[in-house]
Symmetry: C2
Subunit: 207 residues, 2 copies
DNA sequence: AAGTAATGTGCACACTGTACACATTCGCGG
DNA sequence: CCGCGAATGTGTACAGTGTGCACATTACTT
């Protein structure tokens, strides 16, 4: 290996590995972040990674956490644009809509990161991720405004996440993959609107 | 290799390989169906598979087609149970509901096959799979009955599939994985009901 | 029955993750 | 300032993967 000019110690290998992993995952998704390729990108031997990560999976998890941060960032940005509305009720609705569209938009624009971020939430318990917290906060706004009952919020969260995540999968890995962006965007708006409408118009679990 | 008692020619290797792949995928999903493991299960050399499949991916696709058939079967079975209803309108709604719950139920009971089946629909064009045709047929029933406009059917299809597929992902690979079956089933019913309600109560694309 | 196409084997190569022993370097106590 | 232990990176090795190529064996056609 040509390591001319490089110091024996890297300085901040973990960060370098995660950065390289992010780049690889961006193009090829989770399976593209291989130990050997990542360490190669960082100009280091494959085994060097084991000083900082237990195994490949741990590395992937760390990279996934970064991807998840990107997703949360994108959601926050898009939601901020929906803040200009006088009526609080309609404002809360528009924010939830923006949240869903941002989730789908991120999936379409960064499919590699999206797949990685979803597989990151490996913990089986109730999720404590930034994107999830944003969803809960948006639904809490709806409750505060009165268009959603407090008891219906948990169910609403799963319904919204399901619709939006499902569409993201269809658009990035399913039958909608490769369709014109404009068509996908229009469908996304319909699906998100339907989900939002379903949640605020049908707050109580009906059996 | 111990091939005592075996003929040089297998008889029907493709079928044997697909059967072995199906078994492996059932436990470990798509990535578990490896060329070497599949051929090993069939008692044959790894390269023998290349006489019948172009590469590993082609084999996986063939196995995925079988998994997709199982999914369609499960959907048909469950839908048949919803046929006992006098009122045609409510019958159509119940059938769509049964369809969605069957999709989710299959995902929960056979997560390996489910993941495989979804990744099978690799074709970017409009899907022509059995499960998709069942969905379209169910929506056509709603149109015939008058609770859904003919023009709103395509959008409704994507909305239903999104909600149901998204929930299946959350339940099998996402934060809902490992949750008690009863809890998952109740959530599934809520999500499916919300989707069905959203589709029949909001048939026109609202922009 | 003979020859050709179909099918399965063996060997090889590049690639992956991961152990293990070793080399190098950093930082702290004297 | 020195030196020594801890942290970090290297080298080598092994099992496993997909896949190409030459060869062996069997089935089928004429």
């Amino acid at each position: 290996m040509d390591r001319s000019g490089r110091r024996y110690h890297h300085g901040d290998l973990p960060a370098a590995l995660i950065a390289a992993g992010l780049e690889l995952a961006r193009a090829g998704g989770p399976e593209a972040v291989s130990l050997r390729e990542v360490t190669r990108s960082a100009g280091v031997t494959a085994n060097a990674a084991y000083r900082h990560f237990a195994d490949r999976h741990a590395l992937v998890l760390a990279v996934a956490a970064r991807a998840e941060q990107h997703l949360a960032l994108a959601m926050e940005d898009r939601m901020a644009l929906a803040d200009a509305d006088a009526d609080p009720a309609s404002r809360a609705g528009r924010r939830l809509r923006a949240l869903g569209l941002a989730y789908i938009g991120f999936a379409v624009e960064e499919p590699g990161w999206f797949r990685l971020a979803f597989h990151a939430g490996a913990g089986a318990g109730p999720p404590d991720t930034a994107p999830y917290r944003l969803l809960i906060a948006a639904l809490d706004d709806l409750v505060a405004v009165g268009v959603l009952s407090a008891g219906g919020r948990p169910n609403a969260a799963w319904a919204c996440w399901s619709a939006v995540h499902g569409f993201a999968e269809l658009a990035t890995q399913g039958p909608l993959r490769g369709h014109p962006a404009a068509e996908v965007r229009e469908l996304a708006e319909y699906v998100v609107d339907t989900a939002v409408h379903g949640v605020i118009a049908r707050p109580e679990p009906g059996r």
